[in-house]
């Protein structure tokens, strides 16, 4: 530690924020006209080339599918890292005082039987609502995933909704019957198998002379089938991995 007197933390923070604001002000207030050329091209050819009416799907699964591959790898790495860190956290309940009035830890959500229902956060409201709404949320997630080429949605959005359905199902079982969807082995299996499928489907274009991530159905009557397939695979993968991470953070990894 140096001898010089340190500035107060508030002053340091104010200075940093002021500098950040000065740097970012031109970025936020720029009036440069946004180029329309890409939008016009996509409006004219996007649907014919990819088959998807939703241009966002056409981009992230057609034109820029490599981005999506990288993104799924990032998701995989995040899941591996989170699991690696959380698996060392054996039980948080022991490290916190056992005063019943404090909200101890989320870890207690995974307790079995009587201990579980005595947890302060486990109200009947939570169990009834999440248990009933879980299957509906799952269904809605699959709808968003499968209709991603026609309507707002897609694999990532549907996957996140599926993940919330999985979390609801994991929270809402009143009689202690665990659904297979909250088991880490099943979720991890879905995730790895869907990543493998994603790679295989991505390579399938090679055998049709379209190249990596080429659409093998491009010349057929339904070129959109490729996007639907990729959307479903990504939806399963995102749903499984985010549900996996959420359940692990609730303490249900065993």
């Amino acid at each position: 530690m140096g001898k010089r007197k340190a500035w107060s933390p508030t002053l340091q923070a104010c200075l940093a924020i002021g500098a950040m604001g000065v740097v970012l002000l031109p970025v936020f207030l720029s009036q440069t006209p946004w180029p329309t050329v890409a939008r016009d091209y996509l409006m004219q050819y996007g649907q014919d080339e990819s088959g998807a009416r939703n241009l966002v799907s056409a981009i992230y699964l057609g034109y820029r599918a490599f981005d999506t591959l990288g993104e799924t790898i990032v998701l995989l790495v995040a899941v591996i890292g989170t699991m690696g860190l959380l698996s060392r956290v054996e039980s948080l309940v022991n490290t916190v005082g056992d005063d019943d009035n404090t909200i101890q830890t989320v870890s207690a959500f995974s307790l079995r039987g009587d201990k579980r229902s005595s947890h302060v956060l486990r109200t009947h409201l939570l169990e009834v609502v999440t248990g009933k709404i879980g299957p509906i949320v799952l269904l809605f997630g699959f709808y968003v995933m499968l209709y991603g080429h026609l309507s707002p949605g897609g694999g990532f959005q549907g996957g996140v909704i599926i993940a919330s359905g999985i979390v609801f199902l994991a929270l809402g079982n009143q009689q202690d019957n665990t659904s297979a969807l909250s088991k880490s082995s099943i979720l991890g299996g879905i995730e790895s198998v869907s990543f493998l499928l994603f790679i295989i489907v991505a390579m399938s274009g090679i055998f049709f002379g379209k190249g990596f991530f080429g659409n093998p159905l491009a010349d057929s009557a339904y070129p959109v089938g490729f996007i639907v397939l990729l959307n479903s695979i990504i939806g399963l993968k995102v749903g499984a991995s985010i549900g996996f991470m959420c359940i692990a953070m609730m303490g249900g990894h065993d």
Binding site: M20, G21, V27, F28, L55, L85, M245
Partner: protein, 113 residues
């Protein structure tokens, strides 16, 4: 113009959370707010050349630019990944040191070494 100024404020709030807050969980939330501000700025930029959703139907004239939306899809997912990893690290630190406060964490780690 107002919405841009508000987004700048939002981004600076997130930055302030990262820089000035002592609690790790609050820092992670600040990072999240920063991420959200950047995402919304991109959506706003793409919104400048049109007003309709980029889902092609007959009779659409001026749709928004779909490219920033597709890129922000990536950014959102990666933001979620970063948040999850950071929260897992925070839990791990909490288990080692028993605190979420960075000053306390630093003291306890220095005490042990």
């Amino acid at each position: 113009m107002v919405e841009r100024a508000l987004l700048l404020c939002l981004l600076l709030i997130g930055f302030w959370g990262v820089v000035a807050k002592k609690n790790i969980i609050k820092k992670i939330f600040g990072l999240n707010i920063l991420n959200a501000a950047a995402v919304m700025l991109f959506i706003l930029e793409g919104n400048r050349i049109g007003s309709e959703a980029p889902i092609l139907e007959s009779g659409l004239a001026q749709v928004v630019d779909p490219i920033p939306q597709a890129l922000m899809l990536t950014a959102i997912v990666i933001g979620v990944c970063v948040t999850a990893l950071a929260l897992a690290l925070a839990v791990h630190l909490y288990q080692i040191t028993g605190s979420f406060d960075i000053e306390t964490i630093r003291e306890r780690i220095q005490d042990e070494t």
